[in-house]
């Protein structure tokens, strides 16, 4: 047992076998994505032999009207979903944090349901619901996205509520009491004292909602009317038929967008929950 005396007994992260294992797992996780990104710059339709660097697939993506329209739709949906989810999520977090009221437990655990329920069940529910209330399918363009936006808000705002709630736990309630003592109205104390404290949570929640909305396929698949195409739905129909560098390029765009959103979110979250968990 004394083959490696230079390693302290609990420094497992320095063990060679463990490092090899981690390397293997990371390779499994990243190799497909990195290859996908690399081949979006490959100057060959065959997608497997490197022929040289090119941006032409990206140009093709932007010249492809259907794809560009789908991307644009997805971004509009994501932005609107983010705005509403942040407002609803912040209000929900605040109410649960601040007040005692009848059936509070029911609302609190109920709000967790959209997080745990399988996507397919929610998708089915949304499809049947809009069908039942005869939501018109032939509305003019931006309003025709409303079904998808409503569905996205419904599954996003509970996530925002969780993030904002975690942030509120660190709020010193005496600050609000002080503001009220000094003559601020309840509403003023909320906007001037509590909301500023919430802000990092709001930003993290916003980016979470944005990513969730941009990512969602299953629920959108069920919520969308026949004429509306979002980016994941368009990619889905392309993926079903073939593997092309154009899909690689489109995917890379989405990966980069999500990465940026995630990086910003982590920066803002860094100050609160992560540190407490470490």
């Amino acid at each position: 047992m004394s083959k490696k005396p230079q390693r302290a007994p609990l420094e497992y992260s320095k063990s060679f076998r463990l490092r090899a294992w981690i390397f293997g797992v990371l390779l499994f996780l990243y190799a497909p994505l990195l290859i996908l990104i690399a081949f979006s710059f490959n100057d060959s339709k065959r997608n497997i032999v490197w022929k040289g660097f090119t941006f032409k697939w990206y140009v093709k993506v932007f010249e492809n009207d259907a794809l560009r329209e789908a991307l644009f739709n997805s971004l509009i949906i994501a932005v609107l979903c983010t705005i509403f989810s942040v407002i609803l999520g912040a209000l929900a977090a605040f109410v649960l944090w601040r007040f005692k009221f009848p059936m509070k437990g029911l609302l609190e655990s109920g709000l967790n349901l959209p997080i745990v329920v399988p996507e397919i069940c929610m998708g089915v529910g949304v499809l049947m619901f809009f069908n039942k209330i005869h939501w018109p399918n032939d509305l003019p363009w931006p309003i025709s996205l409303s079904q998808i936006i409503i569905a996205h808000i419904t599954f996003s705002f509970p996530f925002v509520a969780v993030v904002v709630r975690a942030r509120l736990e660190s709020f010193n309630k005496e600050l609000e009491a002080a503001a009220l003592d000094l003559g601020a109205s309840q509403w003023r104390a909320f906007t001037d004292v509590i909301v500023p404290h919430m802000t990092p949570g709001l930003i993290a929640g916003a980016l979470l909602a944005f990513t969730l909305s941009l990512d969602d396929f299953v629920i959108t698949f069920f919520a969308s009317g026949p004429g509306t195409i979002t980016f994941p739905i368009k990619v889905y129909s392309m993926v079903r038929f073939s593997v092309t560098p154009e899909v690689n390029a489109a995917s890379t765009i989405i990966i980069v967008l999500t990465l940026i959103a995630t990086a910003v979110a982590m920066k803002f979250q860094d100050t609160s929950p992560n540190k407490e968990n470490a």
Binding site: L29, C121, V124, M128, V247
Partner: protein
């Protein structure tokens, strides 16, 4: 915390919007699905809610039971593979210094934030007959042939559109779900117990098996549940990586709505999936309560 009636106006102002939204766009649709699961097709577009249990009975037909058991078995295999892959990673994260720890955490979580569809597509691009894996094998095959081995032409392996492809896809997608609860549990472990075990002469593997694993059991249970549930309800993975007959419960549900047009049966299947999910989450809460606070967040 304040009682709501001490500040009624402010309470209503903040409570009303999220609650109404939740009731209107989540509870109402789910209630509708629940109601329809006791209904029957009455004509091409109408569904009569007759209170029948026939749709649930249908789920016990052999061909449907087969799909349900396939879903459970595939998700279970994927979950166990995730556990085996993730455990050493979680161990390394637990005992690494802070910087390595946060880097590993980030590297594990990053794919998680990448679009599910794109990750599945990346796997397809790797695994198809003219994909990267077959390309690599063909390359070595051709070298062997040029060295004089008589192997004949390279026949590409059919890696996609079967049950193994589904399992690989499920593992690929759900691995981060497993790492986080394991790490959360291991991080709270009392290290002196491990040191004591090593001091008293047990080897590293014995210590893992006899000390670390039993103590981390609540975390392992939480990880199993957190991974198993979404894996079982996965739609895209079996749809894109499986063959036409490799159905899982979510693809079966989708067919009832988009192809077979049997909404009541689809609703019943959805609720079966919901009930199973909720039971497992209740189990998870139970394990959490037993093992102190072990959470994924």
């Amino acid at each position: 915390m304040q009682n709501w009636f001490e500040n009624k106006r402010f309470f209503w102002a903040t409570m009303l919007a999220p609650t109404v939204w939740f009731l209107a766009f989540f509870v109402a649709p789910m209630a509708l699905v629940w109601a329809y699961s006791f209904g029957e097709n009455a004509g091409p577009v109408n569904i009569a809610i007759t209170g029948t249990f026939g749709n649930y009975a249908k789920a016990f037909r052999p061909e449907i039971l087969q799909v349900l058991s396939d879903s459970v078995v595939l998700a279970l295999i994927a979950t166990l593979i995730c556990l085996v892959l993730a455990f050493p990673v979680a161990i390394a994260m637990t005992f690494a210094d802070d910087k390595t720890k946060s880097w590993l955490l980030l590297l594990i979580m990053l794919p998680f934030w990448t679009n599910l569809l794109i990750r599945t597509y990346a796997l397809i691009a790797m695994m198809r007959t003219e994909g990267f894996i077959n390309f690599t094998f063909a390359f070595f095959h051709n070298i062997a042939v040029s060295l004089g081995f008589n192997l004949g032409d390279y026949v590409p392996m059919e890696l996609l559109y079967n049950k193994s492809a589904i399992v690989i896809g499920l593992v690929y997608v759900h691995l981060p779900f497993m790492v986080l609860p394991l790490y959360a549990a291991l991080d709270k472990l009392d290290r002196s117990l491990i040191e004591a075990s090593l001091d008293l002469g047990a080897g590293h593997l014995t210590t893992m098996w006899k000390i670390v694993v039993p103590l981390a059991l609540p975390g392992i249970a939480a990880g199993l549940v957190i991974t198993f549930i979404p894996a079982m309800g996965a739609y895209l993975t079996p749809d894109l990586l499986g063959g036409p007959n490799d159905l899982m419960i979510a693809t079966l549900i989708e067919r009832q709505f988009k192809r077979a047009n049997d909404w009541p049966f689809g609703s019943a299947l959805s609720f079966i999936l919901m009930y199973v999910t909720l039971i497992f989450f209740a189990l998870r809460t139970f394990f959490e309560a037993r093992g102190g606070k072990v959470s994924a967040h």
